[in-house]
C-alpha cells in the first residue's frame, strides 16, 4: 500500500472520482475526432489512393490491416504499462485500465489476423502459414485471451487483476518478436515499409491515408478504453460513497 512514491499528478488522476469525471469529459472528443479522421482516411485510401501497379486494388486492405496491426502492438504496450503500475503501486485505477485494454487489444489483433489472411490468399496463395510474423501475432492474440481468461477465472476482482497484470508483463517478451520477426527470420511477410525516420518505401498517395487511419485507430482505442475503465471503476468501487451518489444522480 505504499502509494507515497507516486508523482503528484498521478495521485490526482489516480483517485477514481477525478478520473471518472476526467474520462467522461474527454471521451466524446476522442471518439468524434477518431470517426472524422477514419472517414477521411477511408475515403483517401479506397478512392483517392492510386491503384498498386502489381497488386491492383487488393492492396487497399492495407488501410485496415496495417493500422490494426500497429494498434495490436500499441494496445499491448499500454496494457503492460498499466499492469506494471498495478503490480508496483497496487493502484486500483491502473488495475482497471490494464484489464480494459485487453479486450480492445484482442479485437485489433483479431482484425489484423483476419485482414492479414484475407490479404495473404491473393498475395501468397494461402490463408495461413506458420511464418514467424504470423505465428508471433497469433501468440499475441493468445496472450490477450489469456489475460482476459485469467482475470475472469479468479473470484476476487483485485487478486484477479494483479494475476492477469503479471501475465501481461510476462508476455511483453513477445512484442519485439512480433515487430522484428521480419528482420530476424526470412518470413513470407514483408518487412517494414513505412519508416518514420528515413524515407518510406511507399507511394505518398498511399502513405497519408495510412497515417490518418493509424491516428484514427489510436484515438478510438483511447476513447473505448477510457469508457470501459469508467464502467470497470464503478464495479470495483461499487461500495464507495462517490460511486453510490453518482448512481443516485444518474437515477434522478
Amino acid at each position: 500500500m505504499s502509494r507515497s512514491y507516486l508523482p503528484h499528478w498521478m495521485h490526482l488522476l489516480g483517485s477514481p472520482p477525478t478520473f471518472y469525471r476526467f474520462a467522461g469529459a474527454l471521451r466524446p472528443w476522442l471518439l468524434a475526432s477518431s470517426l472524422v479522421l477514419a472517414a477521411v482516411g477511408i475515403y483517401g485510401g479506397l478512392v483517392l489512393a492510386p491503384t498498386d501497379y502489381q497488386q491492383g486494388d487488393a492492396y487497399r486492405i492495407i488501410f485496415i490491416h496495417v493500422p490494426c496491426a500497429w494498434m495490436s502492438l500499441f494496445a499491448y504496450a499500454c496494457m503492460a504499462v498499466a499492469a506494471l503500475a498495478a503490480m508496483v503501486w497496487r493502484v486500483k485505477l491502473a488495475e482497471v485500465i490494464a484489464m480494459e485494454c485487453a479486450p480492445v487489444g484482442a479485437a485489433f489483433t483479431l482484425v489484423t489476423l483476419i485482414t492479414g489472411s484475407l490479404w495473404g490468399r491473393p498475395m501468397w496463395g494461402t490463408w495461413w502459414t506458420w511464418d514467424a510474423r504470423l505465428t508471433s501475432e497469433l501468440v499475441l492474440l493468445f496472450l490477450f485471451l489469456g489475460v482476459i481468461g485469467l482475470f475472469n477465472a479468479i473470484e476476487d476482482r483485485r487478486r484477479a487483476a494483479r494475476a492477469a497484470s503479471l501475465l501481461a508483463l510476462v508476455g511483453i517478451v513477445n512484442l519485439p518478436i512480433v515487430h522484428y520477426s521480419v528482420v530476424w527470420w526470412n518470413t513470407l511477410h514483408q518487412g517494414s515499409t513505412v519508416n518514420f525516420l528515413g524515407p518510406s518505401k511507399i507511394a505518398p498517395g498511399m502513405l497519408w491515408p495510412l497515417l490518418l487511419m493509424a491516428l484514427a485507430t489510436h484515438l478510438y482505442f483511447f476513447a473505448s478504453v477510457l469508457n470501459r475503465a469508467r464502467v470497470g471503476l464503478l464495479e470495483v468501487e461499487g461500495g464507495k460513497e462517490w460511486a453510490r451518489t453518482l448512481v443516485m444522480e444518474s437515477a434522478r
Binding site: 497496487r90 476476487d156 476482482r157 461499487g238 461500495g239
Partner: protein
C-alpha cells in the same frame, strides 16, 4: 486490547486499525492490539468469525484492506517477517509422503534451528520419537498434528502465529502445546494463537481478542 501508540516502536508486534474485507464485505472489523516479547495473545471467535483470515493477514499472505502492521517498529513486509515469524495453520504444511523427521529436516534447512534444539529432541518433545520414520499418511490424526507442532520445538522465530494448535489433540497433546508456548514465552518470544474456546487455554495472564461474527 491495550493499544498505546507511545511504545508502538518499542513493542515487537503492533497492529493498528487492521481490517479485512472480501469484495467490500468486511470479514473482521478494525482491530488494534500490541504483542510484546514474553506475551501471549489468544484470539477467540466462533466458527467463521475470521480467526484464520486474521492470521493470514498477519503473515502477509492476504493483503489487509485497512490499517497497518508493524514488526519491531517497521512495516511488516515479507522481508521483515521472513524467518522471524513462525506460522502453523489449518493446513499443517507438512508432506504426507514424508516422515516427521524428513519434514522437520526440510523446515530446519530453510529456517535453521534455535540453539540447543535438534530434530531428535523436537520429535521427543512431541512424543513422536517412535514414529520418526513413518510416513505421515500412516499416522493418526493427532500424530499428524504433533508432527506439524514439532517445528515449534525446533525452528527459531520471535513471533509464533498458531491457528487452532489444539485441534485433534488429546489431553497430553494440549498440555504439550501449552508447554511449548510457555517455553517460547520464557525465551522472550511472543505468541498469538486462535481457539474457539472449547478448549481452555493454560496461561492465566494471556490477553484476549474476541472476533464477532460479522454477518
Amino acid at each position: 486490547m491495550n493499544h498505546d501508540p507511545a511504545r508502538a516502536d518499542a513493542v515487537l508486534f503492533c497492529v493498528r486499525g487492521l481490517a479485512f474485507a472480501r469484495n467490500d464485505e468486511p470479514v473482521f472489523g478494525p482491530l488494534d492490539f500490541t504483542l510484546d516479547r514474553g506475551e501471549t495473545l489468544l484470539v477467540e471467535g466462533d466458527n467463521g468469525s475470521g480467526k484464520t483470515t486474521l492470521l493470514r493477514v498477519l503473515t502477509g499472505t492476504l493483503a489487509a484492506s485497512a490499517g497497518d502492521i508493524r514488526f519491531d517498529g517497521r512495516v511488516a513486509t515479507h522481508e521483515v517477517l521472513a524467518g522471524r515469524a513462525l506460522f502453523l495453520g489449518h493446513h499443517p504444511g507438512v508432506k504426507n509422503d514424508l516422515s516427521p523427521r524428513e519434514n522437520l529436516a526440510f523446515l530446519a534447512g530453510l529456517y535453521g534451528t534455535h540453539e540447543g534444539a535438534s530434530i531428535e529432541s523436537a520429535l521427543r518433545e512431541v512424543d513422536l520419537a517412535i514414529y520418526a520414520d513413518t510416513p505421515l499418511r500412516l499416522l493418526s490424526a493427532g500424530q499428524k498434528k504433533r508432527a506439524a507442532l514439532a517445528r515449534l520445538a525446533l525452528l527459531p522465530g520471535d513471533l509464533w502465529l498458531l491457528d487452532e494448535p489444539y485441534a485433534n489433540l488429546d489431553r497430553h497433546g494440549i498440555e504439550l502445546v501449552n508447554a511449548l508456548v510457555a517455553a517460547h514465552i520464557a525465551r522472550g518470544g511472543a505468541t498469538l494463537l486462535t481457539s474457539h474456546g472449547a478448549v481452555r487455554f493454560a496461561d492465566p495472564d494471556a490477553r484476549h481478542v474476541r472476533l464477532a461474527l460479522s454477518l
